[in-house]
């Protein structure tokens, strides 16, 4: 099959660029902590979320010197808890699940963004360096009150 000389050059440049991109994201995802996309494998009975630990007692818990766990239950159309205060600089493991349909957990303006699908627990770890008021919102359609589903996170 005949391939034009310039086409070969073009395809080699393109492919090498793609490989460079892949290597960069691959190295970051698999060598640095908390950088891979959230892929938790732990399951939960979606109809018994409110009776299952840790979701029977959601909220912020200190687990280390500057480390916290933040457990949140998502339901159409609320986050429980929906007002959270976190000390500045804390490393927080956010642990979420849903008691009904699919939701999306997003802290607007940060990289905290994960799908919350029934039957699974999902987690992300994030360090809150900047003080201020953060907006937590649901970014997956979950019914006609979807746009009302939000919570506030204060870093102080």
């Amino acid at each position: 099959m005949h391939i034009h000389k310039l086409e070969k050059v073009w395809l080699i440049i393109g492919t090498v660029t793609l490989i460079a991109f892949l290597t960069t994201i691959g190295l970051q995802a698999f060598t640095e902590e908390h950088k891979a996309p959230p892929s938790e494998n732990e399951i939960i009975d979606p109809e018994k979320v409110l009776e299952t630990a840790p979701f029977d007692d959601p909220g912020l818990k200190q687990v280390g010197e500057n480390e916290y766990e933040l457990v949140i239950v998502l339901q159409s159309y609320s986050f429980t808890p929906n007002k959270i205060e976190i000390p500045q600089g804390a490393e927080v493991k956010i642990i979420v699940t849903t008691a009904d349909v699919v939701h999306g957990f997003e802290i607007a303006g940060t990289n905290v963004n994960m799908m919350v699908t029934p039957g699974y627990i999902n987690t992300m770890t994030y360090t809150f360096d900047k003080p201020g008021s953060y907006l937590i919102l649901c970014n997956e359609y979950c019914g006609i009150g979807h746009h009302l589903m939000s919570a506030e996170l204060e870093v102080i």
């Binding site: 099959m1 005949h2 391939i3 034009h4 086409e7 073009w10 395809l11 393109g14 492919t15 793609l18 991109f21 892949l22 994201i25 691959g26 970051q28 995802a29 950088k35 891979a36 996309p37 959230p38 892929s39 938790e40 494998n41 732990e42 399951i43 979606p46 109809e47 159409s76 009904d100 349909v101 699919v102 999306g104 802290i107 607007a108 303006g109 940060t110 990289n111 905290v112 963004n113 994960m114 799908m115 699908t117 029934p118 039957g119 699974y120 999902n122 008021s133 953060y134 907006l135 919102l137 649901c138 970014n139 997956e140 359609y141 979950c142 019914g143 006609i144 746009h147 939000s150 506030e152």
Partner: protein, 548 residues
């Protein structure tokens, strides 16, 4: 050179029926789209009998599933008739059965949306549960396409039988590739609709495996975008050279690009599920790698097209490195509309690479950036290419001509589309980066300071949406004119000829069994273990919810 230059009368009727459904869909969906931008920007509120998410469901279903599928099959049937000869009576009958099944399915699904039994958006994620009739409507739509697709494949087989030892027409080859891609892709959605959604929505089973249904949906959902894109590539590869007055740059590379799409467009669905629990991060990354591989045939396409443009410009006596650009037919809507579409694919494709970049997806996932992305790719690249084609194919079928005045208005309409989309999609991209979510009625969040920064972008989207609806109205007006009122005559259905440097095609290129076999191998490799895991280690299933 082929002796058959026209789509036969009966085949023209068949195509036209498909186009009518497509045009009606685009008109309605465009109107809904504008209303959505007006609601989001809080310029209007909807009357109580219409819900925002109901309109959003209708917009998505009509644009992404109905407009595209009907237009594509209308286009494929016309092109097959033009390049392989009039469809045989049996093949035309198959295509008509397909058309009616698709139409009945569409009407059923649309009815369920209208009566408020299916406000689940076009992705219909479980465990939101619509009426079983909605899922049956979707199933009929897909079953219909199987009849239509078989018509295309049988017509191609007949041509090859009648022309032993010859290379098939490029159009027919690419049409078969598109149909094959569609057949393999729809397996996922057919399984989930038939074996998960329908029994569950009837109440025959109580719960559904949500992760499995999402995985099967996205196994279909990503090749779906290539199903939209391939017919646009057909226009670029086959029709544009003829419109420019030149020949096809490389027949074999064009076919190779299509083969690569068949091989690589399936094992990539996880890049829509990167932030989901229940899928191992290693398998996600494998599919990210395969996603990057499917960029290569698009790079090949970009090269072939710009090479065609440059060679044509130089043949017309252009000077300097970029002089050829001025020599392109800027006053011919048949070129200008697809060309704008092609340009939109440069940022569109780049955005797609960002979306699929594993952890980088966190920045934009489910923000309105994604909506901006596919309004560039399918909403501009594919849509403007189809629009450009309809300006010649509708008068061709109807025995009329594209008049000078309709041509200039068509250019005006295409430019309006591009401007509207630039504003709307641009605002979506920028505010998406700031976290503005997609699929959300209003985004004020009780006046939270983070959300207050999105308001101006929402207004820009409404401005873009307004320009787009004006463009759509002009388009539909022009199409009605070209179908019923334009002067009678013969409008060419341009099909490019091969340049002389094209050598004979290696026989393996037409051996579909080999390529489908490799494609299935790749699918099994990328999906078997994660899907087995999803079934074996499944959490208890979910009952249905009707939150509307």
């Amino acid at each position: 050179m082929s002796k058959i230059l026209k789509v036969s009368k009966l085949d023209g009727k068949l195509s036209m029926a498909h186009f009518i459904v497509a045009f009606v869909s685009v008109g309605l969906a465009g109107l809904f789209g504008l209303i959505q931008t007006l609601v989001r920007s809080e310029l209007i509120t909807l009357p109580s009998f219409i819900n925002y998410y109901q309109l959003l469901t209708a917009h998505g279903v009509l644009m992404a599933l109905i407009f595209t599928t009907f237009f594509i099959f209308g286009f494929l049937h016309a092109g097959m008739s033009r390049t392989t000869g009039e469809l045989t009576r049996g093949n035309r009958r198959l295509a008509w059965i397909g058309f009616w099944l698709m139409t009945i399915g569409t009407v059923l699904a649309a009815l369920m949306i209208v009566v408020g039994e299916a406000t689940v958006l076009y992705t219909f994620y479980a465990p939101l549960q619509a009426s079983p009739l909605f899922y049956i409507g979707l199933a009929l739509l897909i079953v219909g396409t199987y009849f239509s697709g078989m018509s295309t494949i049988f017509q191609y087989n007949k041509w090859r039988k009648d022309h032993p030892g010859e290379t098939s027409p490029l159009f027919a080859y690419m049409a078969v590739a598109t149909v094959v891609l569609w057949f393999v892709a729809t397996v996922g959605v057919v399984i989930t609709v038939l074996f998960q959604f329908i029994p569950w929505s009837f109440g025959w089973v109580e719960t559904i495996n949500v992760s499995l249904s999402r995985t099967l949906f996205w196994y279909f959902g990503h090749p779906l975008v290539y199903f939209w894109l391939l017919p646009a590539y057909m226009v670029w590869y086959i029709m544009l050279p003829k419109i420019l007055g030149t020949k096809i740059f490389s027949d074999s590379m064009a076919r190779l690009a299509f083969i690569l799409f068949i091989l690589l467009s399936f094992p990539v669905g996880f890049h829509h599920q990167l932030l989901e629990p229940g899928i191992n991060e290693g398998w996600k990354f494998i599919q990210v790698i395969l996603t990057f591989a499917v960029i290569v045939p698009s790079l090949m396409t970009a090269f072939a097209l710009f090479a065609t443009f440059e060679m044509r410009g130089r043949a017309l006596g252009s000077k300097g490195i970029f002089g050829w650009f001025k020599k392109l037919p800027w006053k011919d809507v048949r070129f200008v509309a697809p060309f704008i579409g092609m340009l939109a694919f440069i940022p569109g494709g780049a955005g797609g690479i960002i979306n699929a970049s594993n952890q980088m997806n966190q920045v934009i996932h489910n923000t309105i950036w994604v909506t901006g992305h596919f309004h560039l790719t399918v909403g501009t690249t594919v849509a403007l290419t189809f629009i450009g084609v309809s300006y010649l194919i509708v008068p061709h079928i109807r025995g009329r001509v594209l008049t000078k005045r309709a041509n200039s208005l068509g250019i005006y309409q295409s430019v309006l589309w591009a401007v509207g989309m630039l504003i709307m999609s641009g605002a979506m991209h920028f505010s998406g980066l700031l976290g503005n979510p997609r699929r959300t009625q209003v985004t004020s969040y009780g006046g939270h300071e983070v959300a207050s920064g999105w308001g101006a972008y929402e207004v820009a989207m409404a401005v873009g949406g307004t320009i787009l609806l004006i463009s759509i109205i002009l388009y539909i007006g022009l199409i009605i004119y070209l179908a019923f009122f334009a002067p009678k005559g013969v409008e060419e259905f341009p099909i490019g000829e091969l340049a002389e440097q094209n050598l004979k095609l290696p026989a393996i290129m037409e051996n579909w069994k080999v390529w489908i076999g490799i494609a299935i191998g790749l699918i099994l490799f990328a999906y078997s273990i994660p899907i087995i895991d999803m079934i074996q280690n499944a959490p208890p299933g979910s009952p249905g919810f009707k939150f509307w």
